[in-house]
Amino acid sequence: MAETLAGKIWRTHTVRSGGAGDDLLYIDLQLLHEVNSPQAFDGLRAAGRRVRRPELTVGTEDHTTPTRSVHALDPDPARRRQRSLMAANCAEFGIPLHRLGDPSQGIVHVIGPELGLVRPGMTIVCCDSHTTTLGAFGALAFGIGTSHSEHVLATQTLPIRRPKDMAVVVDGRLPAGVTAKDLVLAVIARTGVAAGHGHVVEYRGQAVADLSMEGRMTLCNMAIEMGARAGLVAPDEVTAAYLGDATADDEAYWRELRTDPGARFDQEVRVSAAGLRPYVSWGTNPGQSVPIDGRVPDPAALADPGLRQAAERALRYMGLRAGTAVRDIAVDVVFLGSCTNARIEDLRAAAEVLAGRKVAAGVRMVVVPGSARVRRQAVREGLDRVFAAAGADFRAAPGCSMCVALGEDRLEPGERAASTTNRNFEGRQGTGARTHLVSPPVAAATAVAGTLAAPSDL
């Protein structure tokens, strides 16, 4: 029977079929970070359980780490405690951990691929919703909660119901200047933030095949923002080239990792890449996004009362009026970072726009690389000097930073940011903070213009 890629990975990882209920799924790799995990280890200790496969588990510090220096003492004792608990737990249970200052440390979803841990056909979990990022490699990767994380630590399996299959097919080619970020915002603007509930989304079509691995990671990263369990891109030559020679021995295996012709998807969304433009969010969820040459929409035009009420509330929170041209919105801060857009390609794209230009007076631009490796590569390429010359603050240490405002980096109440992150939720970047989600080129152009802008506007 014709199967989807997700279906094949599921079938080959099913330890025990649960019929209409939960299957018991084998997990090839669990990634951990310092938030959300101490309770899992406490649970293991309380029950006298061990970690079944510590060698299939890898930890990092990212959510709360300082970004100005790897040596600075974090003034917050709660954050320090969280990180020392992580170190103690990983040591006790024999789990490798990349602490701040380690050459492989970084945002969990960025370092997994860099460490060569992520390969086609695997099942991967992490106590973090953006684990969907790793679906870019044709791996079934999804976020879980702390209790499920404890369950995987103890059993290397997860009781979980087989998700449905959804296809997002992007026909044609993306126009110049339109990135994976714009594409995924355009898709979510169309589907809404709940369309993917209970589904694995496989991104298909020419425009997806054209994307680099970095672009595919951006796309899959935001699968969770349309509510999907996971995002997937079938492995191909681009994947093979990224993974390098080490894949040659099992190439035949992962070349089977694709959806069979005639396989059925429970839902399908088709998007044409050709007409897309850079997208910017105006509201407080990623579905509330419009093209950059658009205007803040009028909630009164929305037929669904729930969506209308949400849009009205979003406009109040964002301090925006319906009908305002997106390009007239001035920002205080530009943040280039996060697991969505802080890989080397993202930094290059922003630096290309910033080269020979200056960040506008009154705008702060903060650049936080996704990993220590990305930072080293950026320095090797001289991107640090481009950022410095433009007046952007290129941080010394990687981490989640202003994406989640758990560490020192955050927006002040009422401040408005163009941010390459994935969530514009109320308070996400700091209490009362206002976030516009953008691509790295739009972030850089906005920093120069002081108002939301695409590079072509400069």
Partner: protein, 202 residues
């Protein structure tokens, strides 16, 4: 896990859709490394607004949260569930849920009842009118309120686990032999020995 058979309590209407877990518990409360102590963080930013429904004294004792579509989207933070439980909620009723939130709720014995939008709307109107006593009977998979009897779907294994307060890890470990057999037959996970990126390896 504390067993859950049936619960009767008052309902509070949260008339918002796509409520994300950053609202249920803002990130700044998530540096607490325990599973308890999150009640103060529940909807902390919304509770700072005077008109927010949880600030209404009529709803102080509510144990059933009746929310709009796609409740609990966004992050995987289980603290969203711990905060709801700590505050006193035992049940959430909504037309749909974020997948990770729903899985987290089951793992902690917070019962998430799925009900179509018209049923949710009627429940919300009842509680707004002050007639908000609701019974959620997991044994019969039935929600009852004045003028409402709603049979809700609930996974049979999970119902069994919640009714008996079974530990899900212990339940899985009963299949240890099958896990071990899978591991013996399993194709070893290859690793890329040399980290690669599209730029030169570092």
């Amino acid at each position: 896990m504390t067993p859950f058979r049936s619960h009767t309590g008052t309902a509070v209407p949260l008339r918002r859709r796509d409520v994300d877990t950053d609202q249920i518990i803002p990130a700044r409360f998530c540096t607490n490394p325990a599973r308890t102590g999150f009640a103060g963080g529940l909807f902390a930013d919304w509770r700072a607004e005077p008109g927010f429904v949880l600030n209404d004294p009529r709803h102080r004792a509510a144990t059933v949260l009746v929310a709009g579509e796609s409740f609990g989207t966004g992050s995987s933070r289980e603290a969203a569930v711990w905060a709801l439980l700590d505050y006193g909620f035992r049940v959430v009723v909504a037309p749909s849920y974020g997948d990770i939130f729903r899985a987290n709720s089951l793992m902690n014995g917070l019962v998430t009842v799925t009900a179509p939008a018209p049923v949710v709307d009627r429940l919300q109107r009842l509680s707004e009118a002050g007639h908000a006593e609701v019974t959620v009977d997991l044994e019969r998979r039935e929600l009852r309120a004045p003028g409402i009897v709603h049979r809700f779907p609930f996974d049979a294994d999970w119902r069994d686990r919640l009714l008996n307060g079974l530990d899900p890890i212990a339940a899985t470990l009963r299949h240890e032999a099958e896990i071990a057999a899978y591991e013996r037959a399993r194709r070893p996970t290859p690793r890329t020995t040399e980290p690669r990126m599209t730029h030169a390896a570092l």
